[in-house]
Symmetry: C2
């Protein structure tokens, strides 16, 4: 049980409650469409399902000269990505592009078997990156009949960025180039230090909030570890952390630890310079704000005092509006809604991405990556063995990124210096046909967000690089 | 019915009775191995089947410095390709390569569901190029654990060459380069003139046997067309063609036409300069021999006379040993053995390769490609709709080969000037990272055959190009 919670909270960093809950919104300029797509692209005569996508053609209609911008939907309702990738629309308006946002199968409302999509192994087994890529190839091939000859630029952030990169690798005849923002395509067995993600989270807190900030947080976890198996503290912990739930078992204490962990790791990913509403409603510079609270601790030996301010820091993430009266520990832990299930299945099959912590190079506690425990939990949950070598077999995976990517071309890998998902991402150019860089001050796919006044200078420059790179891929020159 | 026979005889040119019948032979230098491979690579936790492959490591053991030569098995028992691709072994002995010949699933003895592999749609549906490629990737990944870091050169002829080319396109991290000999990767809907194949067969006969040879053959078909629906000729046709079967329906006459068609089209594909035993036991220069018989016709108005010599020509293909007492019309037409079934399923699903004839630009009769009739016959036979756009969706397909191949690299496409499968093949270099050429006097993957004294000079040069290209792919230079 202990471990299962960690599965969702650490591994499922991409995923969070509510990703699938966006209602079907009317998004200005966009039309919501459905396309019938084979449930299994890899066998003949598969039944089909309805995949959703948003499309806007008005920019294109002005000159009928632009490319197709195709967003590879990732693990959530597609509206969320339309609403948090404003730069794609912004650039489309400048270059007269058609814009398409395609919803990933088994997320949002693109459910191959409706509400039964996760109910049996035979229903869920078609959830994989290669089936999603085939969906996108299928949709693009369909769209290209109407929009013949237009070059296609694939876009994606996070797992969507991984899909965009793989899309270009596997379907170069369909995709002229891909913008893969914050895409940890090497965050797999054998090519990533499982502790690196949490190390970057910690560095981020230290750089932004001063070294005292992670020091206080680490101290809080040390106290929690010490109290975890001592039930005499449980009632007090309930008070100190103002939990909505009762604290009556060591697992409940572990839930407090995960509640804090989730807050700090998600804050590290979404530490944007403008107010945002991606995973949660957040103010600008939320890590600074959180550390501003946390570093008010004056006496590290007073654990009640430490807990109070660390919880305040966590509430920058959970409760920036101040409307929640108590802290819901299970907020980010799976409640069985479809979005979580989808990511959990991916993480248990094709996308097993190792993650651990040690409490030394990071500010959390000692819980190293345990592949065997992970596999056995996945087997228990899904009846599926983890495909630890999936990425290696299908897309290439090696400590030597340059070697693995030697034949890849026309992919732009962008990362933010604040983003823990630098772990496993492509941070440097490895051949002349690729572009890769880290934007100082940027965070998890900052560059895909709508340009705003406070954007870090390198995020602003990064968007210029994206624009020029796309021009170069399409025209062979930069105008 | 008429059409169904044509399906096998024209479309199934790759396939022929007996391809699967090779017994498991002991091949000097090679070890026969089995590997457990998932039946469905594209869903989690698939059951497995035993895939066969031959491997030899003795050349490699001498210096432990060579690459891996990996033959992508095509539609037949793998022994046949080991025995007819002697140049791969020959070159391996020079460069200390490991040699692997992998058997294509659903052919030979690599049957996912044993003798029931073709019995239900659910059993046969895992037969496709992408599943075969995944088999090869899986086997290679397994072999590379033992032979770590060795560069891999994929090889293949005909459909095997298509697989080799696609293997490099889809798995560049596993394959350093591919030798795709006589590989018609563009022989698909919309990018091939369906009549071109038969036009090249006819040109071949004209060039090698003089224009009189196809003229006599065309005349024979004109007579057969005229007699086909006139039952008063049926008994005589039985005598003239010395058929083992009775001729009692128009379909039987059509079988005679197909018997001739198969002989001439297969002869055109296997017109090697040395005796061979690929599709049939054949003498050297068999088209010359056939035309030598056919052009002995002195009176084109005497149809019995025309038939006699045309049948003699066909028997260069069917009966070079002279041991058959009558002509078995159904020899190359499906008898339900597994090899034919395998190709027929592929041709009815993913590999629908248009082929037709008109009796004007070719020496046959008027029977244009009819996609609708083809589709409906496939639906009747297999319950599967033909995936006419499969190649376009997965690998790219366009009249503009240069555009489609703009991002492909390290593939060598070789063709023979005598080979009808130039139709749909890549005959010219389209980017600096590809190599493509036609060898004057070469035929269907002539260059993969064991070097022999009579080899046409350009086939000899072609093998040097192959050797140097492989060196260049591996070392960046040619020694």
């Amino acid at each position: 049980m202990k471990w299962l919670i960690l599965l969702v909270s650490i591994i499922g960093c991409f995923s969070i409650r509510g990703l699938n809950k966006a209602s079907v919104e009317s998004i200005p300029g966009y039309t919501l469409m459905n396309i019938s797509v084979p449930i299994d692209h890899y066998a003949p005569n598969s039944p089909t399902f309805q995949m959703r996508y948003y499309i806007r053609t008005d920019y294109y209609q002005q000159t009928k000269s632009g490319p197709i911008f195709f967003y590879c939907g990732n693990e959530g309702a597609i509206e969320m990505f339309v609403n948090n990738s404003g730069y794609i629309d912004f650039l489309a308006s400048q270059v007269d592009a058609i814009v398409v946002f395609a919803e990933h199968r088994y997320f949002g409302q693109s459910m191959p078997f409706g509400s039964a999509s996760f109910q049996t192994p035979n229903n869920v087994k078609y959830l994989s990156p290669h089936q999603a890529l085939a969906d996108y190839a299928y949709l693009l091939t369909y769209l290209k009949r109407e929009y013949y000859g237009l070059p296609v630029i694939a876009w994606g952030g996070s797992y969507g960025g991984m899909l965009a990169a793989w899309f270009r690798m596997k379907f170069p005849h369909l995709v002229a180039g891909s913008i893969a923002s914050s895409a940890p395509i090497f965050h797999f067995n054998g090519t990533v230090d499982p502790n690196e993600f949490n190390q970057i989270v910690t560095q981020h807190f230290s750089e932004v909030g001063g070294p005292g900030c992670p020091a206080v947080i680490r101290t809080a976890f040390q106290y929690l570890e010490a109290m975890r198996y001592n039930s005499s503290y449980y009632y007090n912990l309930e008070q100190w952390f103002n939990t909505c739930e009762e604290i009556i078992t060591s697992d409940d204490v572990y839930s407090i630890m995960n509640w804090l962990y989730n807050a700090f790791s998600y804050l590290a990913m979404t530490d944007y310079t403008s107010p945002s509403n991606f995973l949660q409603v957040l103010p600008a510079y939320p890590v600074s704000l959180a550390c501003g609270n946390i570093t008010q601790v004056v006496d590290l030996t007073d654990y009640a005092h430490v807990f109070e301010y660390v919880a305040k820091g966590a509430n920058v993430y959970y409760n920036s509006s101040g409307t929640q009266m108590c802290n819901e520990l299970n907020l980010t832990i799976s409640e069985g809604n479809l979005g979580d299930e989808g990511w959990d299945f991916l993480a248990c099959t094709t996308l097993s991405m190792p993650s651990g912590m040690n409490g030394v190079t990071d500010m959390f506690w000692y819980e190293p990556w345990d592949q065997l425990a992970y596999d056995s939990s996945c087997l228990q949950t899904w009846g599926e063995a983890t495909q630890v070598n999936y990425a290696a077999l299908w897309y290439g995976n090696s400590l030597n990124q340059t070697y693995i990517l030697r034949h890849a071309s026309n992919i732009l890998f962008s990362s933010g210096s604040l983003d823990p998902w630098q772990s496993g991402s492509v941070l440097m150019n490895s051949n002349p046909n690729l572009v890769a860089y880290v934007m100082e001050g940027g965070d998890h796919h900052s560059d895909l967000r709508m340009p705003a006044l406070n954007d870090p200078p390198e995020v602003v420059s990064g968007r210029v690089i994206i624009k020029q790179t796309i021009q170069y891929w399409i025209n062979g020159t930069i105008s």
